[in-house]
Symmetry: C2
Subunit: 181 residues, 2 copies
């Protein structure tokens, strides 16, 4: 099954290629619908892509879910970063008195006959004052449970060992292998 | 100019009809793109509508902008209400130490030759603990400047006298009248 990853993000593509060396990428303009449910966002993007192109497409969403804020910001994280930045998100979480959070990757795949499959990876952790300069996005304020470093304080190898993205990619990889048998 | 208001919200339609008695409404499914800029959201909806229908369309966005949160939630307000409700939005604003906010209506019109025009109404105010049961959405936590009632404590007539929506509709009305001359 030839997979095409719909993304313009080279960092994400690289992480995917480590597991799926044959994956291709396609950077097409897919509007992101306003939704807080990652599955709905991914489903809409895959549907849009299938209207114009043929293939087995992959769309990925990695978001931060603060428990005391009932899952906000979730997929809206980029607007939080654009406005109040990581410092503002930290303060917002801290003000609720409970900084527990989940980092979640959802991968959507349009497989045979356009059927959609989803693969998730979830990491528990907490929101902390920004530390570290590696990575991107909200890496500086997320400290995975059982670790004393934020994602931004870890190097790539270290981060990948605990990353929600790798868990989801591994599930996808397993599915692909089974499909090919 | 025959105007068609793209909305499924009967309350909004009623407010518009008070000023523009001849306005029609059309409830079509227009996906809301994920954006924090009301103009961009409206532009995308008008563009989408014009691909499938002919006419002079109106799209409206009324949102709440908290100053200390750099304008959040803005058009993302519905996701905040869905998750943390008005009480959560109040706590979020209160935790920043500055509850100043703006209530803003943006109306977009696709006029002659599909040219888009925008009309805004802005009201200054502050976020308070929920009070009152009239209105809808975030009316219970928004107290307009110069008033000691929230929108939810005002009756329809009282609210309309200070409403951001009426300011925007009046600007639209003026534009229509000038176009027809």
């Amino acid at each position: 099954m030839q997979l095409t990853f719909l993304t313009g993000n080279q960092g994400k593509l690289k992480e995917f290629q480590a597991f799926l060396p044959d994956i291709k990428s396609l950077d097409i303009d897919l509007p992101e619908i306003q939704e807080i449910d990652a599955h709905a966002i991914i489903r809409a993007k895959l549907k849009e892509a299938l209207q114009h192109h043929k293939g087995n497409f992959i769309v990925e969403d990695t978001s931060l879910y603060i428990k005391s804020l009932k899952g906000l910001p979730g997929p809206l994280i980029k607007w939080f970063l654009k406005t109040i930045d990581v410092e503002g998100v930290y303060k917002m979480a801290e003000a609720t008195g409970d900084v527990s959070a989940q980092a979640k990757t959802v991968i959507g795949l349009s497989g045979k006959n356009g059927k959609m499959h989803f693969f998730e990876g979830v990491i528990e952790g907490k929101i902390v004052a920004p530390r570290g300069s590696n990575g991107f996005g909200w890496d500086a304020i997320f400290e995975p449970a059982g670790h004393d470093k934020t994602f931004a304080e870890m190097d790539a190898t270290e981060k990948n060992q605990v990353s929600m993205r790798q868990i989801a990619v591994q599930k996808l990889q397993l599915f692909i292998v089974q499909e090919q048998q």
